[in-house]
């Protein structure tokens, strides 16, 4: 039992971050906070990938003499791409928030909603 909890601590971290981020996305009305939540959510996935690529006592996957165990580099490469995607999403999201702020004078979801309704 303890093994399951401690031995898979990376998963617990991932799950915690994932839920925290997802909850933030769903529950917060503030557009910036939503994006922050989204980032946490995505980061948890990055962690998931990186931690599953780790081979215990492995080194960086560069061929050199004397090293035979090394971590799986593929998840890293994938996550590098995913991070770039995440950064682009964040940048785009924030840019939209700036524009929304300019157009509506607010970044609170309910206030924006009220303004649209009153039209």
């Amino acid at each position: 039992m303890i093994d399951i909890i401690v031995g898979h601590y990376n998963y617990w971290v991932v799950i915690f971050l994932m839920m925290a981020g997802f909850y933030t996305v769903i529950s917060h009305g503030n557009l910036i906070k939503k994006i922050a939540g989204l980032n946490i959510f995505q980061t948890s996935v990055f962690l998931l990938y990186i931690s599953i690529g780790y081979v215990s006592e492995g080194t960086t996957p560069i061929i050199a003499e004397g090293f035979t165990r090394y971590s799986n580099p593929l998840p890293h490469a994938m996550i590098l791409t995913a991070i770039v995607v995440g950064v682009s999403t964040t940048a785009l999201g924030l840019a939209l928030v700036v524009r929304i702020k300019e157009a509506y004078g607010s970044i609170e979801e309910d206030e924006i909603h009220d303004q649209d309704k009153s039209l």
């Binding site: 996305v25 939503k34 994006i35 998931l48 599953i52 998840p75 995913a82 999403t89 939209l96």
Partner: protein, 494 residues
């Protein structure tokens, strides 16, 4: 040398054109380049389909790395079909885009607009071509990110909130997909679709595989606007620039349907769908989606929103087809992917023409416009018939196969729901017809003229295609059937 690389060029040509377009001065040059690129893509996609239509498979190894280690572009009939749809719609949309974009997009943004459009095309074509799940995720994000940008370029400020909403939901969906891919990768150590299918086969009962599958399906369902995850779609279609409504409505959800098919049946398998409640889930969501989205469409007061809800309903048909999980069901789904692209393309083009002339697609602005803009109106009318599934139109063919598949499955209820959905489509399409044709023309609209020819011609190309593919289904049905069989073969592999 060129021939062996053509499949890849399909993705690389728009990819190369995008930065060049972004560097061009604003005006008509970016449009011209985009047009050229998309027509080239169409030619290549046509060639590609002609190669694989008989069941051949094109395999292209990126960087010369053999699969399953390297990224493989693996094109069978289904891939080529989807690629053809995407590039054909792009090629038809672009002549339409010229005037519409000049009207709706500020001049200083045109080159960026077209560059983003090309990136979106890269993403969609990439999804269609690739045989690697992670690569698919990347292309999905390329297309999604660019479509967020394109939607946000709409004239009204609500375009921004719509794009934001889509961005949040889309990113959550993509991340779900990423989690799913990660979990499956943990279990199998591969990302190549064919390889995944083989390696997953012995371990289909593993819990991790099931979890991964659930994440993948939910992730794609978000992109697919599968009921009840459709909330982003109506606003996104409504507030985006007309051209983008056309392009996204005709391609984006279709490509998502393709991803769903490829992942669920190609990577996992028909067996997996059967041993899990996936098929029932699809059927259930499909039934609710068809009925509720159609009913919602009836209550809309804006043509674009109405059509958007109709899209959700139509996507639900495709999900029903998947839920039937038979060759006939998948054939129906694929045929409908094609036909629905034709319908929604034409309908949104007509909407764009209305917006071009009266500046809005709300019902109260359209009173009596049918007489002022007869060509646009007739286009809406004929395509509406196709949407309903009147014989002699493409829509009838898809409806035919859906009901046939349902009957084969002995699901009377599903068959009835499909037909009932057509009935609801009659109601909402008729609303548009009545507004446009039978209401008196207000004085303010007396001077409204027919849309310019460059908008009408692409629209009518699609309208005629709607009729043509209602009579000649050699292309659609054959390809869909062969694609469905290939999927089935993959499913029962060894």
């Amino acid at each position: 040398m060129i021939e062996q690389n053509l499949s890849l060029l399909l993705v690389v040509i728009p990819l190369l054109s995008a930065p060049v377009t972004a560097m061009l001065p604003n005006g008509r040059m970016p449009w011209l380049l985009t047009l050229t690129a998309s027509w080239t893509c169409l030619l290549i996609a046509g060639w590609q389909l002609s190669v694989v239509i008989d069941g051949n498979v094109i395999s292209y190894e990126l960087g010369g790395w053999a699969p399953p280690w390297g990224i493989e572009y693996r094109i069978d009939a289904m891939n080529a079909f989807v690629a053809l749809i995407v590039s054909a719609i792009a090629a038809i949309t672009l002549p339409y885009a010229l005037l519409s974009v000049e009207k709706e997009i500020p001049r200083q943004q045109t080159s960026l607009f077209y560059a983003t459009f090309l990136l979106c095309l890269v993403g969609l074509l990439g999804i269609a071509q690739t045989g690697d799940v992670f690569n698919l995720f990347v292309f999905l994000e390329i297309s999604s990110l660019s479509s967020y940008v394109l939607i946000a370029m709409g004239e009204q400020r609500r375009a921004l909130t719509s794009a934001y909403q889509y961005l949040i939901m889309g990113s959550v969906g993509a991340t779900f997909l990423l989690i799913g891919i990660g979990l499956v990768y943990v279990e199998t150590g591969t990302l190549n679709m064919v390889d995944l299918n083989q390696r997953l086969h012995p371990i289909l009962d593993h819990q991790t595989v099931h979890t991964g599958f659930a994440f993948i399906v939910v992730g794609i369902a978000l992109k697919l606007a599968l009921f009840p995850l459709h909330l982003w779609l109506p606003n996104a279609y409504k507030y985006s620039p007309s051209v983008i409504s056309v392009f996204l409505a005709a391609t984006a959800t279709k490509v998502a349907v393709y991803i769903m098919l490829r992942m669920v049946f190609g990577v996992f398998s028909n067996d997996f769908v059967r041993i899990t409640p996936t098929d029932h889930m699809f059927l259930l969501l499909g039934v609710f989606g068809v009925i509720l989205a159609s009913v919602a469409a009836i209550y809309q007061t804006d043509v674009k929103r109405l059509l958007a809800y109709s899209s959700i309903a139509q996507v639900s048909y495709m999900v029903l087809g998947m839920g039937l999980a038979s060759v006939l069901g998948i054939t129906a789904t694929l045929v409908h992917v094609f036909n629905h692209a034709l319908m929604k393309g034409a309908l949104f083009m007509a909407c764009g023409a209305l917006v071009y002339r009266v500046g809005s697609s709300r019902f109260e602005k359209l009173d009596g416009l049918g007489r002022q803009m007869p060509w646009t109106f007739t286009a809406i009318f004929i395509t509406g018939l196709s949407l309903v599934g009147i014989p002699g139109t493409a829509g009838f063919i898809s409806k035919w196969y859906f009901v046939l598949a349902a009957l084969e499955h002995q699901s009377w209820l599903i068959a009835l729901v499909i037909l009932l959905g057509s009935l609801l489509a009659v109601v909402y399409m008729w609303k548009i017809v009545e507004v446009m044709f039978f209401r008196p023309v207000p004085d303010s609209a007396q001077s409204v003229k027919e849309a310019p020819v460059s908008l009408l011609v692409p629209m009518w190309v699609l309208v005629i295609a709607n009729i043509y593919f209602g009579f000649n289904t050699e292309l659609t049905v054959n390809v869909a059937d062969s694609a469905a069989r290939l999927l089935g073969v993959a499913a029962y592999h060894e």
